[in-house]
Amino acid sequence: MNSDQAKPAYIFTAESLRKKFRFSEFFAEKLITSVAFLSIAVIILIFFFVFRESLPAFKHRLKATTEESRASAGNKPENYGSSEPATSEKKPETYKGEEKGTTEKKPETYTGAEPTAAKKPETYTGAEPTAANKPETYGAVKDTSVSADEVNPDESLRPSEKAENQGSLISLFGIEWFPVSENPRYGLIPLFIGTFKVTMIAILFAAPISILAALFSSSFAPPWLREWIKPAIELLAGFPSVVIGFFALMVMATFLQNMFGYVTRLNSFVGGIAMALASIPVIFTITEDALTAIPATYKEASLALGASKWQTAVFVTLPAATPGIFAAVLLGVGRVFGETMIALMATGNAALSGLNPFESVRTLAATIGAEMAEVVFGDMHYGILFLIGSLLFIFNFSINAIAEFYIKGKLVRKIQGR
């Protein structure tokens, strides 16, 4: 006990250390936490709103069964007439021409579709009143379009329909997608077939190439080379899909046609290869990570037993990384499935149901991209496009959830391939 200890001494007092309420601290924490909820909220909102907007697709059909077609249908056909005829009437014909025709027809085909594009801003203007007054006109618009859809020869076209109630379901499974003709048909089958074809082709190209490349980068390449390969391939992920689509449309399509000599210039084959370019970085990066994550002891054990480098890579590393590679391919599928711009530009956009890879196809995503700008807000066609969107979203969500199951964590950076 020395003397200077006698003075004030106890600074550790309940008083001086009483818990303080710090407003800024409290505020910061609450704010940050609530912002963090945004991602969850967005996912839920996406699901909710995309699905909500697809409701017209169901309501129309149901209404048609209960209410007699109203005479108010008057303005609807006009509406269609004013904004659509160029596309609606021409599309089927154009596509048919395309099937038979030669390559040279392609530019003309576009010429045929051109008025729609040129009109796009006006089309919007045309559709605006509907959009703006939506809350009020919603019902009215529905009714009119219902009658437009339902009264007209829908039934006569498909006498196989037993009950009108089932009409909606059955017609969604139809094989004809003619949304803007006099008697619109919304069969999703050709779209599914098209999407499936393109996805298969893309993955058949992308998966082996990316997996082999990842194997080279992780097992065969010297470290200095690996440092270069990864970022270089990841740069491909940075190419905007519209650029890849443009390249496929202008350069690849012609090149491949000359090489294989098929008839239709733009088809699922061209589109598939272009989309393979988009999914290669995704599959490559995740596979590469899965391969490098295999502990060195595995490889050393194999090498110590006298296996060569390639034997180790193929018989030890590759099998051990199977879950990761599976997830990589799944995410590659997801990437292709939802790809819009490349599909719009390189697949020809004809809703055909054949299985020939050298036919034009129309994918689900491309259908939304191509037609959404031209529909009347709130009508059947609009609802169906959103319904397709919901399907895409659900499909992608499931793929992501499954892939997540295989490679927990670290996923996002890889998806972007950066």
Binding site: Y10, F12, T13, S16, L17, R18, K19, K20
Partner: protein
Amino acid sequence: MKEAKIITRDLTLHYGQKMALNSINIQIPEKEVTAFIGPSGCGKSTFLRCLNRMNDLIPSVKIKGEIVIDGLNIYQKKIDVVNLRKKIGMVFQKSNPFAKSIFENIAYGPRINGHNNMHKLKEIVETSLKNAAIWDEVKDRLHDSALGLSGGQQQRLCIARTLAVEPEIILMDEPASALDPISTGKIEELIFELKKKYTIVIVTHNMQQAARVSDYTAFFYLGELIEHGKTRKIFTTPDIKQTEEYITGRFG
């Protein structure tokens, strides 16, 4: 023994299911240097980090028992941990200056306490650097990055940074373990100076260091406090066999 500054009562700590400290009872005297020694993983650093409630940051940690400083249990619910840490400074094993200038490193603590008067800040920075015996080395480059200093200088800078907050107790977690002998010597001299004003608790791996700088020594083994007493006694005539074995280098 001087008056006890810190008293712990049955301090027990779990990491999840694993017990890391078992019922520690110790009295740490005021304005003396107390050294914690023991083999690595014995809980001495964990215990040190209990003293300023740094372990609160690890979610899986569960603590029972009391740590009483000046008669106040710092594990009471109503204790403000932020203000508590202002009173108990800490110097870490690896010198960890911020990527700021030397001046800003020292001024960091005063600034968060609301001192923004530049004149006053300069004064605090100068005093702290002088007290940490590094003023002469850095006074001409206060606005250079602290990362440009040597390891030993960085560690003394971190001590100065701690002093600038005017704590009463300074906890040091192997402060010289990464330093060369000359820098270590400087730190030890500094500790010797500082104990005139501060209660110092130092964790060390190096028994010579404990013998040189500390007045009291506590030996930890497997999460238990084995023996605690005057340094001279612990190093010459320990009561317990394990302590003796450790000190004579038979294990650890």
